[in-house]
Symmetry: C2
Amino acid sequence: MRAPCTFQAVRPQTLGLIGLGAIGGSIARQVKQQGNRGGDEITVIGWSPEPAERALAAQQGALDDAPPRATDVARNADLLILAAPPAANINQLDALVPHLKPGAVVTDVGSVKRAIVARAEQLGLHERFAGSHPLAGTHRHGFEASRPDLFRRAVVYVTPCRHGETAAREIVDFWEHVLEAEPVVLDADRHDAQLAATSHVPQIVASLLGDFLARHAPPGASLGTGAIDTTRLAASEPRLWTEILLMNRDELLVALRTLEESLGSVERALETGDAPALTAWLTRAAEWRRGVGP
Amino acid sequence: MRAPCTFQAVRPQTLGLIGLGAIGGSIARQVKQQGNRGGDEITVIGWSPEPAERALAAQQGALDDAPPRATDVARNADLLILAAPPAANINQLDALVPHLKPGAVVTDVGSVKRAIVARAEQLGLHERFAGSHPLAGTHRHGFEASRPDLFRRAVVYVTPCRHGETAAREIVDFWEHVLEAEPVVLDADRHDAQLAATSHVPQIVASLLGDFLARHAPPGASLGTGAIDTTRLAASEPRLWTEILLMNRDELLVALRTLEESLGSVERALETGDAPALTAWLTRAAEWRRGVGP
């Protein structure tokens, strides 16, 4: 049962965003669009390293204020959300800790969680930080790609620090009650292992095919919807994904060796004309895929 | 310039279909649905090894007649289309040649072309056969998956036999004028090399990821739209794809070695923390993908 005092905590008076891209921008839009539904209106302030992005977000009503320095946001936020790429979030956490408002809690929205949770623990933020990872990405980026409904019914993983249950609960409540998302609390280690399989390996596989087609598809050759679907993720932002993949490289290296072995087994089946082996391999994938959706 | 007599040839009086799955069924539906637009109505007869499929196709108005034997279709068709899986098409070609109507032309709709074109040449069908490959697949199969508009504006590769220009032209005209598709004449060798890259490798890559996720995605873990899109092709029919991959295995083995090398380069970049190499690899794929569509 949720104590009434918790409900206070989920509605920060002032929400601060560091980063106003597709994710940060969408948080700001959704909070401002819903106005004071369910409680007092939340003031949203935000910072981006790009002055034009700050101006655009303010102009479109996604921010109440867009101060020129990240520290101005940190000083005023009851809940501070780091919404830059993963490595920049860690740097911002380092830089902004001395400027946090007393009692403020902090989260981020990166798709790798061990590194930033470990850094928060090193900084003594156990009771003030939990990581977040909304499964609501888009391969488009920048404030232009933000939407006012990106998080509604989206799964959001929340990864606490050790002994960080209180901060995690506040952040869970924010996602659930303010953004109408579906938060799931998960240990950062388990998160990164799971996401290696369900997100980071798919990114590598899509890019692997994209890179292959970039080099080997005859110019002007028609691509079926199959090749188009299979490579959709390859359009994702390369620098962001370089950070994600490197931050999860120990998990990924194990996974990529498994992929290599599987590819090797297909090659052997083709070389030896082993139809039953090929069919068995294709069938395992087909049955799994038919089970997860259209 | 197209001679007037060619236009006669594009409207066979009787169209025969061997195979009534998603492709064969869609051809029948489209021909019957458009009725006698642009000329005399075409009689469509078809055969499937499954009596229930024959009955369903006739009942739904896709066929004028569904005789119990494939030879009955061959004997009466001015244009005979083999629409079974690739290996069965070759067997049907062998079996039906003695029963073809004088002057009839024959094509197939398989997605590998060297093997069946070579077999047609061995059978002395140079002037009566050209292969076809409509880029209008679906990972669903059976007559239930057929549609009356599958070929409209679809690219259809037509692969002639040596000295088989006349038959190829008749088949091109049929796709273009009867089914409103966009036929492209292509040498069978070039076709199979091109499709290895644009279709068969994407199928293997999607199945590679599907097989990996079948074994390594934690049960109940949320999958993003990325993993869903990247594995969509993995749901395709395993036995059909076993045939396609084996019939194009020499092209595919070369391609799979290239994929393996590329995967190896990603692993080395992850092992050594080589961010610029990873970014360059991801960027090549991203630029290609952004260039081919949303």
